[in-house]
Symmetry: C2
Subunit: 224 residues, 2 copies
DNA sequence: TAGCAGACTACTCGCATGTATAGTCACTGG
DNA sequence: CCAGTGACTATACATGCGAGTAGTCTGCTA
Protein backbone atom coordinates (compact mmCIF):
# COMPACT_ATOMS: atom_id res chain seq x y z
CA UNK A 1 0.00 0.00 0.00
CA UNK A 2 1.49 3.26 -1.04
CA UNK A 3 -0.99 5.31 0.87
CA UNK A 4 1.74 7.62 2.01
CA UNK A 5 2.60 8.97 -1.36
CA UNK A 6 -1.01 9.12 -2.38
CA UNK A 7 -1.91 10.79 0.85
CA UNK A 8 0.58 13.53 0.26
CA UNK A 9 -0.53 14.60 -3.18
CA UNK A 10 -4.09 14.52 -4.31
CA UNK A 11 -6.31 12.91 -1.79
CA UNK A 12 -4.98 14.74 1.24
CA UNK A 13 -5.10 18.09 -0.47
CA UNK A 14 -8.73 17.48 -1.29
CA UNK A 15 -9.47 16.38 2.24
CA UNK A 16 -7.72 19.36 3.79
CA UNK A 17 -9.49 21.70 1.43
CA UNK A 18 -12.76 20.13 2.51
CA UNK A 19 -11.93 20.58 6.18
CA UNK A 20 -11.03 24.18 5.55
CA UNK A 21 -14.15 24.81 3.54
CA UNK A 22 -16.42 23.06 6.01
CA UNK A 23 -14.95 25.07 8.85
CA UNK A 24 -15.13 28.38 7.04
CA UNK A 25 -18.42 28.06 5.19
CA UNK A 26 -20.26 25.20 6.83
CA UNK A 27 -21.01 21.68 5.74
CA UNK A 28 -23.20 22.81 2.88
CA UNK A 29 -20.09 23.82 0.99
CA UNK A 30 -20.46 22.26 -2.44
CA UNK A 31 -18.13 19.71 -3.87
CA UNK A 32 -17.30 22.01 -6.73
CA UNK A 33 -16.20 24.77 -4.40
CA UNK A 34 -14.15 22.36 -2.34
CA UNK A 35 -12.52 20.98 -5.46
CA UNK A 36 -11.79 24.49 -6.69
CA UNK A 37 -10.21 25.30 -3.35
CA UNK A 38 -7.97 22.28 -3.77
CA UNK A 39 -7.26 23.21 -7.35
CA UNK A 40 -8.80 20.09 -8.83
CA UNK A 41 -12.03 19.12 -10.50
CA UNK A 42 -15.19 18.15 -8.70
CA UNK A 43 -15.32 14.67 -10.10
CA UNK A 44 -12.12 13.82 -8.35
CA UNK A 45 -13.96 13.79 -5.06
CA UNK A 46 -16.00 10.92 -6.26
CA UNK A 47 -12.95 9.19 -7.64
CA UNK A 48 -11.18 9.31 -4.29
CA UNK A 49 -13.95 9.20 -1.74
CA UNK A 50 -16.97 7.89 -3.57
CA UNK A 51 -19.43 10.36 -2.14
CA UNK A 52 -19.65 13.59 -0.25
CA UNK A 53 -20.76 11.74 2.83
CA UNK A 54 -17.63 9.62 2.75
CA UNK A 55 -15.51 12.72 2.33
CA UNK A 56 -17.25 14.27 5.28
CA UNK A 57 -16.65 11.16 7.36
CA UNK A 58 -12.97 11.21 6.55
CA UNK A 59 -12.79 14.89 7.45
CA UNK A 60 -14.49 14.18 10.77
CA UNK A 61 -12.09 11.40 11.58
CA UNK A 62 -9.10 13.50 10.60
CA UNK A 63 -10.20 16.46 12.69
CA UNK A 64 -10.92 14.33 15.72
CA UNK A 65 -7.59 12.60 15.38
CA UNK A 66 -5.73 15.87 15.04
CA UNK A 67 -7.56 17.28 18.00
CA UNK A 68 -6.59 14.32 20.13
CA UNK A 69 -2.99 14.63 19.08
CA UNK A 70 -2.98 18.33 19.83
CA UNK A 71 -4.59 17.71 23.16
CA UNK A 72 -2.10 15.04 24.08
CA UNK A 73 0.72 17.40 23.27
CA UNK A 74 -0.58 20.32 25.25
CA UNK A 75 -1.56 18.31 28.29
CA UNK A 76 -0.54 19.60 31.68
CA UNK A 77 0.21 23.08 30.61
CA UNK A 78 -1.37 25.85 32.58
CA UNK A 79 -3.96 25.55 35.31
CA UNK A 80 -6.28 27.48 33.06
CA UNK A 81 -6.59 24.36 30.96
CA UNK A 82 -9.03 23.07 33.48
CA UNK A 83 -11.51 25.74 32.46
CA UNK A 84 -10.56 25.89 28.85
CA UNK A 85 -11.26 22.30 27.87
CA UNK A 86 -9.64 23.20 24.58
CA UNK A 87 -5.98 23.23 23.73
CA UNK A 88 -4.70 26.75 23.42
CA UNK A 89 -3.10 25.59 20.26
CA UNK A 90 -1.19 27.49 17.71
CA UNK A 91 -2.82 26.22 14.56
CA UNK A 92 -5.83 24.52 16.02
CA UNK A 93 -8.17 27.32 15.05
CA UNK A 94 -9.59 25.52 12.07
CA UNK A 95 -10.00 22.38 14.10
CA UNK A 96 -11.91 24.24 16.77
CA UNK A 97 -14.23 25.91 14.31
CA UNK A 98 -14.78 22.62 12.51
CA UNK A 99 -15.68 20.92 15.75
CA UNK A 100 -17.98 23.70 16.83
CA UNK A 101 -19.73 23.52 13.49
CA UNK A 102 -20.09 19.78 13.95
CA UNK A 103 -21.62 20.23 17.37
CA UNK A 104 -23.90 22.92 16.07
CA UNK A 105 -25.03 20.70 13.25
CA UNK A 106 -25.79 17.80 15.51
CA UNK A 107 -23.89 15.17 13.59
CA UNK A 108 -22.35 12.13 15.12
CA UNK A 109 -18.94 13.77 14.98
CA UNK A 110 -20.16 16.53 17.26
CA UNK A 111 -21.67 14.06 19.67
CA UNK A 112 -18.55 11.99 19.70
CA UNK A 113 -16.49 15.02 20.44
CA UNK A 114 -18.73 16.16 23.27
CA UNK A 115 -18.65 12.75 24.84
CA UNK A 116 -14.88 12.68 24.64
CA UNK A 117 -14.75 16.06 26.34
CA UNK A 118 -17.10 14.92 29.07
CA UNK A 119 -15.10 11.81 29.79
CA UNK A 120 -11.87 13.72 29.84
CA UNK A 121 -13.23 16.49 32.03
CA UNK A 122 -14.68 13.92 34.39
CA UNK A 123 -11.25 12.41 34.89
CA UNK A 124 -9.60 15.77 35.39
CA UNK A 125 -12.26 16.96 37.79
CA UNK A 126 -12.15 13.85 39.94
CA UNK A 127 -8.42 14.16 40.15
CA UNK A 128 -8.72 17.84 41.07
CA UNK A 129 -11.29 17.00 43.73
CA UNK A 130 -8.99 14.38 45.20
CA UNK A 131 -6.18 16.89 45.35
CA UNK A 132 -8.45 19.34 47.10
CA UNK A 133 -8.43 21.91 44.34
CA UNK A 134 -12.05 21.62 43.37
CA UNK A 135 -15.14 21.49 45.53
CA UNK A 136 -16.76 18.06 45.39
CA UNK A 137 -20.18 17.68 43.85
CA UNK A 138 -23.14 15.58 44.85
CA UNK A 139 -23.33 14.30 41.29
CA UNK A 140 -19.94 14.55 39.68
CA UNK A 141 -20.99 13.46 36.22
CA UNK A 142 -23.97 15.78 36.09
CA UNK A 143 -21.78 18.71 37.05
CA UNK A 144 -19.11 17.86 34.52
CA UNK A 145 -21.66 17.38 31.79
CA UNK A 146 -23.24 20.70 32.55
CA UNK A 147 -19.89 22.45 32.55
CA UNK A 148 -18.87 20.92 29.24
CA UNK A 149 -22.20 21.70 27.63
CA UNK A 150 -21.95 25.26 28.88
CA UNK A 151 -18.36 25.73 27.78
CA UNK A 152 -18.89 24.36 24.30
CA UNK A 153 -22.29 25.96 23.99
CA UNK A 154 -20.96 29.36 24.93
CA UNK A 155 -18.41 29.04 22.16
CA UNK A 156 -21.10 28.05 19.71
CA UNK A 157 -23.29 30.96 20.69
CA UNK A 158 -20.38 33.29 20.54
CA UNK A 159 -19.52 32.05 17.08
CA UNK A 160 -23.03 32.74 15.88
CA UNK A 161 -23.07 36.13 17.53
CA UNK A 162 -20.25 37.47 15.40
CA UNK A 163 -20.20 35.37 12.25
CA UNK A 164 -17.90 37.66 10.31
CA UNK A 165 -14.78 37.47 12.43
CA UNK A 166 -14.63 33.70 12.45
CA UNK A 167 -13.30 33.43 8.96
CA UNK A 168 -10.25 35.62 8.92
CA UNK A 169 -8.23 34.70 11.94
CA UNK A 170 -9.37 31.65 13.82
CA UNK A 171 -6.79 31.86 16.54
CA UNK A 172 -7.44 35.49 17.34
CA UNK A 173 -11.09 34.71 17.86
CA UNK A 174 -10.47 31.96 20.36
CA UNK A 175 -7.93 34.03 22.26
CA UNK A 176 -10.34 36.93 22.37
CA UNK A 177 -12.90 34.61 23.82
CA UNK A 178 -10.60 33.56 26.60
CA UNK A 179 -9.75 37.13 27.52
CA UNK A 180 -13.41 38.07 27.57
CA UNK A 181 -14.37 35.02 29.53
CA UNK A 182 -11.57 34.49 32.01
CA UNK A 183 -12.53 37.07 34.59
CA UNK A 184 -16.19 36.16 35.04
CA UNK A 185 -15.32 32.49 34.87
CA UNK A 186 -12.77 32.79 37.63
CA UNK A 187 -15.14 34.92 39.64
CA UNK A 188 -17.91 32.40 39.30
CA UNK A 189 -15.66 29.46 40.08
CA UNK A 190 -14.11 30.97 43.20
CA UNK A 191 -16.81 33.24 44.56
CA UNK A 192 -19.96 31.62 43.26
CA UNK A 193 -23.00 33.62 42.36
CA UNK A 194 -25.43 33.43 45.23
CA UNK A 195 -24.73 34.92 48.64
CA UNK A 196 -26.52 32.36 50.75
CA UNK A 197 -27.21 28.66 50.56
CA UNK A 198 -30.96 28.77 50.93
CA UNK A 199 -31.79 27.94 47.31
CA UNK A 200 -29.52 24.94 47.21
CA UNK A 201 -30.64 23.58 50.54
CA UNK A 202 -34.23 24.12 49.68
CA UNK A 203 -33.73 22.14 46.51
CA UNK A 204 -31.89 19.39 48.35
CA UNK A 205 -34.65 19.05 50.89
CA UNK A 206 -37.65 18.96 48.62
CA UNK A 207 -36.54 18.47 45.07
CA UNK A 208 -33.56 16.22 45.56
CA UNK A 209 -35.70 13.14 45.20
CA UNK A 210 -36.53 14.13 41.66
CA UNK A 211 -32.93 13.94 40.74
CA UNK A 212 -31.53 10.60 39.73
CA UNK A 213 -28.40 9.81 41.72
CA UNK A 214 -25.64 8.12 39.81
CA UNK A 215 -24.98 4.98 41.75
CA UNK A 216 -22.37 3.21 39.72
CA UNK A 217 -18.80 4.49 39.86
CA UNK A 218 -17.91 3.90 36.24
CA UNK A 219 -21.33 3.65 34.70
CA UNK A 220 -21.86 6.05 31.83
CA UNK A 221 -25.37 7.37 31.77
CA UNK A 222 -26.81 8.35 28.41
CA UNK A 223 -26.29 11.92 27.24
CA UNK A 224 -28.91 14.22 28.49
CA UNK B 1 -59.16 46.59 6.18
CA UNK B 2 -60.20 43.06 6.79
CA UNK B 3 -56.83 41.89 7.91
CA UNK B 4 -58.35 40.15 10.86
CA UNK B 5 -60.41 37.71 8.96
CA UNK B 6 -57.63 37.16 6.46
CA UNK B 7 -55.14 36.60 9.23
CA UNK B 8 -57.28 33.93 10.74
CA UNK B 9 -57.67 31.84 7.64
CA UNK B 10 -54.91 31.53 5.12
CA UNK B 11 -51.93 33.65 5.90
CA UNK B 12 -51.70 32.87 9.59
CA UNK B 13 -52.13 29.17 9.01
CA UNK B 14 -49.27 29.26 6.57
CA UNK B 15 -47.13 31.26 8.94
CA UNK B 16 -47.81 28.99 11.89
CA UNK B 17 -47.13 25.95 9.77
CA UNK B 18 -43.82 27.52 8.79
CA UNK B 19 -42.93 28.18 12.42
CA UNK B 20 -43.79 24.63 13.30
CA UNK B 21 -41.85 23.23 10.40
CA UNK B 22 -38.83 25.42 11.01
CA UNK B 23 -38.77 24.42 14.65
CA UNK B 24 -39.20 20.74 13.98
CA UNK B 25 -37.11 20.28 10.87
CA UNK B 26 -34.90 23.34 10.64
CA UNK B 27 -34.93 26.33 8.36
CA UNK B 28 -34.14 24.27 5.29
CA UNK B 29 -37.71 23.02 5.33
CA UNK B 30 -38.97 23.55 1.82
CA UNK B 31 -41.87 25.75 0.91
CA UNK B 32 -43.67 22.78 -0.54
CA UNK B 33 -43.49 20.88 2.72
CA UNK B 34 -44.58 23.91 4.69
CA UNK B 35 -47.48 24.47 2.36
CA UNK B 36 -48.45 20.81 2.60
CA UNK B 37 -48.36 21.10 6.38
CA UNK B 38 -50.74 24.01 6.15
CA UNK B 39 -52.91 22.14 3.67
CA UNK B 40 -52.39 24.61 0.84
CA UNK B 41 -50.27 24.82 -2.26
CA UNK B 42 -46.70 26.03 -2.38
CA UNK B 43 -47.41 28.96 -4.64
CA UNK B 44 -49.55 30.49 -1.99
CA UNK B 45 -46.47 31.34 -0.01
CA UNK B 46 -45.37 33.62 -2.74
CA UNK B 47 -48.81 35.07 -3.06
CA UNK B 48 -48.94 36.05 0.59
CA UNK B 49 -45.33 36.68 1.52
CA UNK B 50 -43.50 37.20 -1.74
CA UNK B 51 -40.50 35.06 -0.88
CA UNK B 52 -39.28 32.47 1.55
CA UNK B 53 -37.05 35.03 3.16
CA UNK B 54 -40.02 37.27 3.87
CA UNK B 55 -41.90 34.34 5.33
CA UNK B 56 -38.95 33.57 7.53
CA UNK B 57 -38.75 37.19 8.66
CA UNK B 58 -42.40 37.17 9.61
CA UNK B 59 -41.93 33.92 11.49
CA UNK B 60 -38.98 35.40 13.37
CA UNK B 61 -40.94 38.47 14.33
CA UNK B 62 -43.93 36.42 15.40
CA UNK B 63 -41.84 34.09 17.54
CA UNK B 64 -39.97 36.93 19.20
CA UNK B 65 -43.20 38.73 19.88
CA UNK B 66 -44.83 35.65 21.35
CA UNK B 67 -41.78 35.01 23.47
CA UNK B 68 -41.87 38.52 24.86
CA UNK B 69 -45.54 38.19 25.65
CA UNK B 70 -44.99 34.87 27.34
CA UNK B 71 -42.10 36.27 29.28
CA UNK B 72 -44.08 39.27 30.40
CA UNK B 73 -46.83 37.00 31.62
CA UNK B 74 -44.62 34.66 33.57
CA UNK B 75 -42.47 37.33 35.16
CA UNK B 76 -41.75 37.05 38.85
CA UNK B 77 -42.68 33.48 39.23
CA UNK B 78 -40.19 31.30 40.98
CA UNK B 79 -36.67 32.20 42.08
CA UNK B 80 -35.42 29.56 39.68
CA UNK B 81 -36.33 31.91 36.89
CA UNK B 82 -33.14 33.77 37.59
CA UNK B 83 -31.15 30.80 36.35
CA UNK B 84 -33.59 29.67 33.76
CA UNK B 85 -33.76 32.76 31.58
CA UNK B 86 -36.59 31.03 29.77
CA UNK B 87 -40.23 31.07 30.68
CA UNK B 88 -41.34 27.72 32.01
CA UNK B 89 -44.29 28.09 29.78
CA UNK B 90 -46.97 25.62 28.96
CA UNK B 91 -47.02 25.88 25.20
CA UNK B 92 -43.74 27.64 24.63
CA UNK B 93 -41.94 24.51 23.57
CA UNK B 94 -42.11 25.29 19.87
CA UNK B 95 -41.03 28.84 20.54
CA UNK B 96 -38.03 27.67 22.50
CA UNK B 97 -36.94 25.21 19.87
CA UNK B 98 -37.44 27.79 17.15
CA UNK B 99 -35.31 30.29 19.02
CA UNK B 100 -32.61 27.76 19.74
CA UNK B 101 -32.53 26.85 16.07
CA UNK B 102 -32.22 30.53 15.21
CA UNK B 103 -29.32 30.95 17.58
CA UNK B 104 -27.70 27.85 16.25
CA UNK B 105 -28.06 29.08 12.72
CA UNK B 106 -26.60 32.46 13.46
CA UNK B 107 -29.36 34.53 11.92
CA UNK B 108 -30.24 37.98 13.02
CA UNK B 109 -33.23 36.64 14.91
CA UNK B 110 -30.95 34.57 17.09
CA UNK B 111 -28.67 37.51 17.76
CA UNK B 112 -31.59 39.74 18.56
CA UNK B 113 -32.90 37.21 20.98
CA UNK B 114 -29.56 36.77 22.71
CA UNK B 115 -29.15 40.50 23.09
CA UNK B 116 -32.61 40.76 24.57
CA UNK B 117 -31.75 38.04 27.04
CA UNK B 118 -28.49 39.74 27.99
CA UNK B 119 -30.16 43.08 28.58
CA UNK B 120 -32.89 41.49 30.63
CA UNK B 121 -30.48 39.40 32.67
CA UNK B 122 -28.31 42.42 33.27
CA UNK B 123 -31.22 44.25 34.79
CA UNK B 124 -32.25 41.31 36.94
CA UNK B 125 -28.71 40.68 38.10
CA UNK B 126 -28.05 44.26 39.08
CA UNK B 127 -31.25 44.30 41.04
CA UNK B 128 -30.30 41.04 42.74
CA UNK B 129 -26.87 42.40 43.58
CA UNK B 130 -28.41 45.49 45.11
CA UNK B 131 -30.68 43.34 47.22
CA UNK B 132 -27.69 41.34 48.38
CA UNK B 133 -28.81 38.09 46.80
CA UNK B 134 -26.03 37.84 44.26
CA UNK B 135 -22.32 38.34 44.66
CA UNK B 136 -21.17 41.48 42.83
CA UNK B 137 -18.85 41.14 39.86
CA UNK B 138 -15.91 43.23 38.77
CA UNK B 139 -17.45 43.40 35.29
CA UNK B 140 -21.17 42.94 35.53
CA UNK B 141 -21.87 42.92 31.82
CA UNK B 142 -19.14 40.43 31.05
CA UNK B 143 -20.45 38.07 33.69
CA UNK B 144 -24.02 38.34 32.54
CA UNK B 145 -23.03 37.84 28.93
CA UNK B 146 -21.07 34.76 29.84
CA UNK B 147 -23.93 33.34 31.85
CA UNK B 148 -26.43 33.92 29.07
CA UNK B 149 -24.15 32.46 26.42
CA UNK B 150 -23.57 29.45 28.63
CA UNK B 151 -27.23 28.95 29.45
CA UNK B 152 -28.43 29.21 25.87
CA UNK B 153 -25.43 27.36 24.54
CA UNK B 154 -25.94 24.47 26.91
CA UNK B 155 -29.49 24.15 25.60
CA UNK B 156 -28.26 24.21 22.03
CA UNK B 157 -25.66 21.56 22.73
CA UNK B 158 -28.18 19.48 24.54
CA UNK B 159 -30.57 19.73 21.64
CA UNK B 160 -27.93 18.51 19.24
CA UNK B 161 -26.91 15.73 21.59
CA UNK B 162 -30.27 14.03 21.42
CA UNK B 163 -31.90 15.16 18.22
CA UNK B 164 -34.67 12.59 18.26
CA UNK B 165 -36.49 13.57 21.41
CA UNK B 166 -36.95 17.18 20.45
CA UNK B 167 -39.72 16.52 18.00
CA UNK B 168 -42.27 14.62 19.99
CA UNK B 169 -42.76 16.52 23.20
CA UNK B 170 -41.11 19.88 23.40
CA UNK B 171 -42.14 20.65 26.93
CA UNK B 172 -40.95 17.35 28.35
CA UNK B 173 -37.52 17.98 26.91
CA UNK B 174 -37.13 21.36 28.52
CA UNK B 175 -38.39 20.11 31.85
CA UNK B 176 -36.00 17.21 31.69
CA UNK B 177 -33.22 19.67 31.09
CA UNK B 178 -34.09 21.63 34.17
CA UNK B 179 -34.17 18.57 36.39
CA UNK B 180 -30.83 17.42 35.05
CA UNK B 181 -29.31 20.84 35.39
CA UNK B 182 -30.71 22.26 38.58
CA UNK B 183 -28.51 20.48 41.10
CA UNK B 184 -25.10 21.24 39.55
CA UNK B 185 -26.21 24.75 38.74
CA UNK B 186 -27.21 25.44 42.31
CA UNK B 187 -24.04 23.82 43.56
CA UNK B 188 -21.91 25.93 41.29
CA UNK B 189 -23.76 29.13 42.12
CA UNK B 190 -23.64 28.69 45.89
CA UNK B 191 -20.46 26.73 46.47
CA UNK B 192 -18.36 27.69 43.48
CA UNK B 193 -15.90 25.29 41.92
CA UNK B 194 -12.45 26.15 43.21
CA UNK B 195 -11.44 25.75 46.83
CA UNK B 196 -9.06 28.68 47.07
CA UNK B 197 -8.81 32.11 45.55
CA UNK B 198 -5.29 31.85 44.18
CA UNK B 199 -6.25 31.55 40.51
CA UNK B 200 -8.53 34.54 40.60
CA UNK B 201 -6.13 36.72 42.53
CA UNK B 202 -3.27 35.70 40.31
CA UNK B 203 -5.31 36.73 37.33
CA UNK B 204 -6.29 40.02 38.91
CA UNK B 205 -2.68 40.83 39.71
CA UNK B 206 -1.54 40.17 36.20
CA UNK B 207 -3.82 42.91 35.04
CA UNK B 208 -6.36 40.70 33.45
CA UNK B 209 -4.23 39.35 30.63
CA UNK B 210 -3.59 35.72 31.32
CA UNK B 211 -3.93 34.55 27.79
CA UNK B 212 -3.58 37.71 25.79
CA UNK B 213 -0.11 39.17 26.36
CA UNK B 214 -1.06 42.54 24.94
CA UNK B 215 -2.43 44.24 28.00
CA UNK B 216 -5.40 46.22 26.89
CA UNK B 217 -7.96 48.24 28.81
CA UNK B 218 -10.76 46.17 30.21
CA UNK B 219 -13.37 48.20 28.39
CA UNK B 220 -15.36 46.22 25.86
CA UNK B 221 -18.58 47.17 24.27
CA UNK B 222 -19.39 45.03 21.23
CA UNK B 223 -20.91 41.61 21.65
CA UNK B 224 -18.12 39.16 21.94
C1' DT C 1 -77.42 39.71 -11.16
C1' DA C 2 -72.96 41.42 -13.01
C1' DG C 3 -68.51 42.08 -11.98
C1' DC C 4 -64.51 42.53 -9.59
C1' DA C 5 -60.89 41.55 -6.14
C1' DG C 6 -58.29 38.35 -3.93
C1' DA C 7 -57.35 33.65 -2.21
C1' DC C 8 -55.68 29.74 -4.23
C1' DT C 9 -53.84 26.06 -7.60
C1' DA C 10 -51.34 23.88 -11.43
C1' DC C 11 -47.63 24.33 -14.10
C1' DT C 12 -43.18 25.92 -15.69
C1' DC C 13 -38.41 27.88 -15.56
C1' DG C 14 -33.74 28.50 -14.17
C1' DC C 15 -30.42 27.09 -11.06
C1' DA C 16 -27.42 24.47 -8.00
C1' DT C 17 -26.39 20.27 -6.20
C1' DG C 18 -24.67 15.26 -5.81
C1' DT C 19 -23.98 11.50 -8.66
C1' DA C 20 -22.61 8.87 -12.63
C1' DT C 21 -19.99 7.93 -17.09
C1' DA C 22 -16.61 8.22 -20.55
C1' DG C 23 -12.42 9.59 -21.71
C1' DT C 24 -7.51 11.81 -21.30
C1' DC C 25 -2.97 12.10 -19.48
C1' DA C 26 1.26 10.69 -17.07
C1' DC C 27 4.02 7.56 -15.16
C1' DT C 28 5.83 2.87 -14.36
C1' DG C 29 7.21 -1.84 -14.70
C1' DG C 30 8.24 -5.75 -17.72
C1' DC D 1 8.98 0.20 -26.19
C1' DC D 2 4.69 -0.35 -24.71
C1' DA D 3 0.68 -1.97 -22.25
C1' DG D 4 -1.69 -0.83 -18.09
C1' DT D 5 -2.89 1.37 -14.00
C1' DG D 6 -4.55 5.17 -11.57
C1' DA D 7 -5.03 10.22 -10.97
C1' DC D 8 -7.72 13.47 -13.08
C1' DT D 9 -11.14 16.10 -16.26
C1' DA D 10 -15.22 17.13 -18.97
C1' DT D 11 -19.75 16.30 -19.49
C1' DA D 12 -24.11 14.60 -18.77
C1' DC D 13 -27.76 13.23 -15.97
C1' DA D 14 -31.54 13.31 -12.15
C1' DT D 15 -33.36 15.80 -8.44
C1' DG D 16 -35.08 19.30 -5.52
C1' DC D 17 -35.25 23.95 -4.73
C1' DG D 18 -37.18 28.96 -4.95
C1' DA D 19 -39.25 31.82 -8.04
C1' DG D 20 -42.43 33.13 -11.66
C1' DT D 21 -46.91 32.90 -14.56
C1' DA D 22 -51.44 32.06 -15.92
C1' DG D 23 -55.60 30.83 -14.77
C1' DT D 24 -59.63 29.15 -11.66
C1' DC D 25 -62.76 29.56 -7.93
C1' DT D 26 -65.22 32.09 -4.33
C1' DG D 27 -67.37 35.63 -2.02
C1' DC D 28 -68.50 40.28 -1.58
C1' DT D 29 -70.54 44.52 -3.49
C1' DA D 30 -72.87 47.78 -6.36
Amino acid sequence: MRAVQTDLTGRARLRDAAIEGFAAQGFDESLRTIAARAGVSAGLVRHHFGSKEALRAECDATVLDRYRTLKAESIQRSPAQLFAAFPSAKGSGILLVYILRSVREGGSAGREFIEALVAEALMLTREAVDRGLVVPSRDEEARVRLLVYQAVGALVVRMTMNPTTALDDFQAVTEQFYTDTMLPTLELFTEGLLTDRSYLEQYLQQGGSLHHPTAGPAGQSPPR
